[in-house]
Symmetry: C2
């Protein structure tokens, strides 16, 4: 069985990507980063996704991107309310983490080389996305070229690395439809950049009313904000797919 590394963040896109890799017949090696993101719930979700995908191994790499800073996801910068509904923006938002996918793919490459995998799956998407530069096809392609010059196995002519981004040209709606087709339970995924800590869900003023997550390994009272780019994209995707988001009531 051919092995593949799957970058798993615990979100809709990476879970779907993992399911696609599994359906393609790969034995999955899931890779998640504990990089100092403000909300550990992502890592819990990634763990549930790895289990659900029957990954052979799930490696969580600890590496502190907070020391580098420069992003609302790692530094003390406020996560803004999405403006997608007002105007499509060409600006890259403050939630962009400098070189994050480059760093993640580099670790994936190291692991791929160690276990003899040629395929690295990433849930990058360049349609319904936040405009991050490291989600674009030209970035993915250039990383692949570099990967095949960086490593022992590629130099010795033994392996040819492929960076697979099967969602790159799909809309969020298409991604969700694909995932449902493949049997993903999106209740275990997490998308929100700015989870809210609430004790009484029903009295909260959140636009998206969440239910309590019932897996005991999760932090029960963190709920999606419903307003950040990631929540808005997720909501749009489920709405247009004609499916209820199982994470929400």
């Amino acid at each position: 069985m051919k092995r593949a590394i799957v970058l798993l963040s615990g979100g809709v896109d990476s879970a779907t990507t993992g399911a696609i890799a599994g359906a393609d017949g790969f034995e999955l090696y899931a890779l998640t980063f504990d990089y100092g993101q403000r909300h550990k719930i992502e890592i819990d979700s990634a763990g549930l996704c790895a289990q659900s995908l029957k990954a052979r191994k799930h490696l969580i790499i600890k590496t502190d991107l907070r020391e580098i800073g420069g992003s609302a996801l790692t530094a003390d910068i406020e996560v803004p309310t999405s403006t997608f509904n007002l105007q499509p923006s060409t600006l890259i938002p403050v939630t962009y983490v400098p070189a994050r996918n480059t760093i993640f793919l580099s670790f994936a490459l190291a692991w791929a080389e160690t276990i003899g995998a040629e395929d690295i799956f990433i849930g990058a998407n360049a349609v319904d996305y936040s405009g991050y530069p490291d989600c674009r096809p030209e970035f993915i392609k250039s990383f692949e070229t570099m990967a095949n010059l960086a490593t022992k196995a590629s130099v010795e002519g033994k392996l040819r690395y492929r960076i697979q981004a099967p969602l790159i040209n799909l809309t969020k709606t298409e991604i969700i439809k694909k995932g449902i087709e493949l049997g993903i339970d999106y209740a275990i995924t997490w998308s929100c950049y700015d989870p809210q800590s609430v004790t009484e869900v029903k009295s909260s003023k959140l636009k998206v009313i969440p239910k309590r997550r019932d897996n005991s390994k999760l932090i029960t009272f963190l709920v999606p904000c419903g307003r950040c780019d990631s929540c808005v994209l997720r909501a749009k995707g489920f709405f247009e797919a004609g499916v209820k988001d199982p994470l929400l009531i």
Copy 2:
């Protein structure tokens, strides 16, 4: 003053690279990795080098490459005695760490983007080296291409990243001569892959007889083995430069 990131491992090459970047007029941001290498003395040396180079900041990123494994420098694989003197080998040695320079440069890129630096200096060398694939000019070039597609600043057309590898075509002897010219005290650098713990230096059977390192921040009784690729290359470099290695008696 233009800023530059300098990857600083504490060895001869990165110290020299830092000195070149300083002489080129850059304000230095030194970056070192605590990646689970077996010997922390490298990190101590990097700290001394950063001080000596008058780096504006020295960031030590903790990230555990041992979890990925696949190298004698991170996993429990024996560091071999160098065979450089017997035959030039085309094989990549077990001290190669999968995708290490890719990972290091990725973090450097993230930091460069955060602080607005366009230049990243790395002491990669493709002449007197261990044959690591990620030290070759074609790798460096492809990383640079990728970097300029990966980042916000490059997409917005504000910055153009350069991966500078000023030692890439120099012999170890030329590197050492250059460093001495620039005033580097190589006594604070560390090269050995397999330091030996000794209490009585004079009675040791090491081929290269080391003196005790006298900086109180260093582990006093670790001495270079004199037999690994890195020691052999260092010794050859100093010998041919006609200079005594100040780290040794």
